[in-house]
């Protein structure tokens, strides 16, 4: 298995206008769809307007990352609405969303697209269906547990554990930058932490406990 994360190498090619393709069969049977997917996502993502999407493509065009995505944000919305759950949760699009909220403010239907992307990331992480060593879910998980433990994040440790878990060799590449940051006093090697850690954990556990009886 390749040690280098598969995603970056896929990313930077310009549009594959000249790449020869193999013939593949593409058809969708209604029985393969999850027809409740659209409504369930709309419910969880404050995306109550998701169903009112008119497929104008403003989100895709304003998105600074849409040209790296396998499906443009507009297509993701259409697929969510129509129940293409597998395609959506396995797409790279949801991981490429950098939460810049461009689409969120410009959507003529005021659909909360960024919130929808978050909801999809959560669902994909919860069911574990993302590519192995995928750095973004790993980063999210690391961040989550560090903050839950200490109340604050320590950037240096977060990055170290991210590289260890995704791409140890890439860390070597980053070592020089890390050293320079450390030398200029911009990278602390002390674990940042709040004082009332227990208080914070009680709050977060209370949320978790409540979730047990309701939907997520």
């Amino acid at each position: 298995m390749s040690i280098v994360p598969i995603i970056p190498s896929l990313l930077v090619k310009d549009s594959p206008a000249k790449v020869p393709r193999k013939i593949s069969r593409r058809i969708k049977f209604e029985s393969e769809l999850d027809l409740s997917f659209g409504e369930s996502v709309a419910e969880r993502a404050y995306g109550e307007n998701l169903l009112s999407c008119i497929q104008c493509g403003t989100c895709s065009a304003t998105c600074p990352l849409s040209h790296y995505m396998d499906y443009t944000p507009r297509r993701i919305i259409a697929m969510v609405r129509e129940g293409f759950k597998e395609e959506v949760l396995n797409s790279l699009t949801i991981w490429l969303c950098a939460s810049c909220y461009s689409c969120y403010v410009q959507c003529p239907r005021q659909i909360h697209i960024t919130d929808i992307m978050y909801a999809l990331k959560r669902e994909a992480i919860a069911r574990g269906g993302y590519p192995p060593r995928h750095p973004i879910p790993v980063l999210a998980r690391e961040f989550f547990s560090r903050v839950k433990r200490h109340g604050r994040n320590t950037e240096s440790f977060l990055l170290v554990s991210l590289y260890l878990k995704t791409n140890p060799f890439a860390m070597l590449k980053e070592a020089w930058l890390g050293t320079r940051l450390w030398l200029s006093g911009r990278l602390s090697l002390k674990t940042e932490s709040i004082k009332r850690k227990k208080e914070l954990r009680t709050i977060l556990n209370a949320v978790e406990a409540e979730k047990g009886d309701g939907h997520q």
């Binding site: 990313l11 950098a98 461009s102 990331k121 750095p135 950037e155 991210l162 200029s184 209370a206």
Partner: protein
């Protein structure tokens, strides 16, 4: 009026110079500010990718602590990092818009005897300086007007979108006006709110670097002497990856990237050390040369 200060994790690490320069600037302008006691991480973009309600609760604890620390009435909580600013304003907005969010978060806060009443206003230092303090007052503090210095104001995404109300979500002007007030010249730059790549530079690096590269190239093309930012992650991406971008894409970009507070501090004659200038990888060439003392600035 006293402000409470929410540093966030980055200003204690990669963004240290932002904290240093902001506090030095506020001191020079005599804007009273005090750190929020026992603040916790805002949750950024990562926490919400795992659990949304917990993320709101995490942020809400800070809003509650601010309300508590201030005592009576509303309180202004200054969050300089864009991610913190966004998460805190978003939490504020969703708590007041969606009763279900508010109920869950307040139930959780109650388990440790906290209760958020909604009296915290989340502010950004740009907003405080432009709209509370006033640019004509800023101009009076300028001792070394940065005449002829061309500045690309980079706002990034989360500072103006979607919950900030102090400027336009795609075409903000606050920092451009600050730049004019300190005697420098803001350039017309169409990418001022286009994403720098955010945390993608650390995860899907090629995508992230390409976004930063577009910003840097356009700033260079339009003759910027310096880029200023108001976000620690933007500053980090645009400054620290310049070398790697040059190598990878065969560019020759060389633009210093300063926090807006640093640039203001330079114009006001605050010693460079207090502004954290020494921590920059690319030092601005104009700090000691072009600035002359005592010139009036036309706002």
């Amino acid at each position: 009026m006293k402000y409470l200060y929410y540093p966030g994790c980055s200003l204690r690490s990669t963004g240290r110079a932002y904290e240093e320069s902001m506090l030095a600037l506020f001191k020079a302008l005599e804007i009273p500010i005090e750190e929020l006691n026992d603040w916790n991480c805002c949750g950024a973009t990562a926490y919400v990718s795992i659990d949304e309600t917990e993320a709101f609760a995490l942020a809400a604890r800070n809003l509650e602590l601010a309300e508590n620390q201030a005592g009576n009435g509303t309180v202004d909580l200054v969050a300089p990092c864009s991610a913190c600013f966004l998460v805190l304003t978003k939490t504020q907005r969703y708590l007041s818009t969606y009763p279900e969010v508010s109920r869950k978060v307040n139930d959780a806060l109650k388990t440790v005897g906290l209760e958020y009443e909604g009296k915290t206003r989340v502010r950004h230092p740009v907003d405080v300086i432009v709209n509370d303090y006033g640019l004509d007052k800023v101009a009076k503090h300028v001792t070394r007007a940065l005449k002829g210095i061309k500045v690309a104001c980079y706002y990034g995404c989360q500072i103006v979108r979607p919950f900030a109300t102090f400027d336009h979500p795609h075409y903000p002007t606050s920092m451009d006006r600050i730049v004019k007030a300190i005697g420098a010249e803001p350039i017309d730059w169409p990418l001022k709110t286009r994403c720098c790549g955010g945390s993608l530079t650390g995860t899907i690096q090629e995508a992230g670097l390409r976004l930063s590269r577009a910003l840097l190239k356009e700033a260079e093309k339009r003759g910027a002497d310096v880029i200023i930012t108001c976000c620690p992650l933007c500053q980090h991406n645009l400054e620290c990856y310049q070398g790697r971008i040059n190598n990878k894409y065969e560019e020759t970009i060389d633009i210093p990237v300063l926090y807006f507070t640093q640039l203001m501090g330079i114009a006001m004659g605050i010693p460079e050390k207090e502004l954290g200038i020494q921590r920059l990888f690319r030092k601005p060439k104009f700090t000691s040369v072009s600035a002359k003392g005592g010139e009036a600035v036309h706002v």
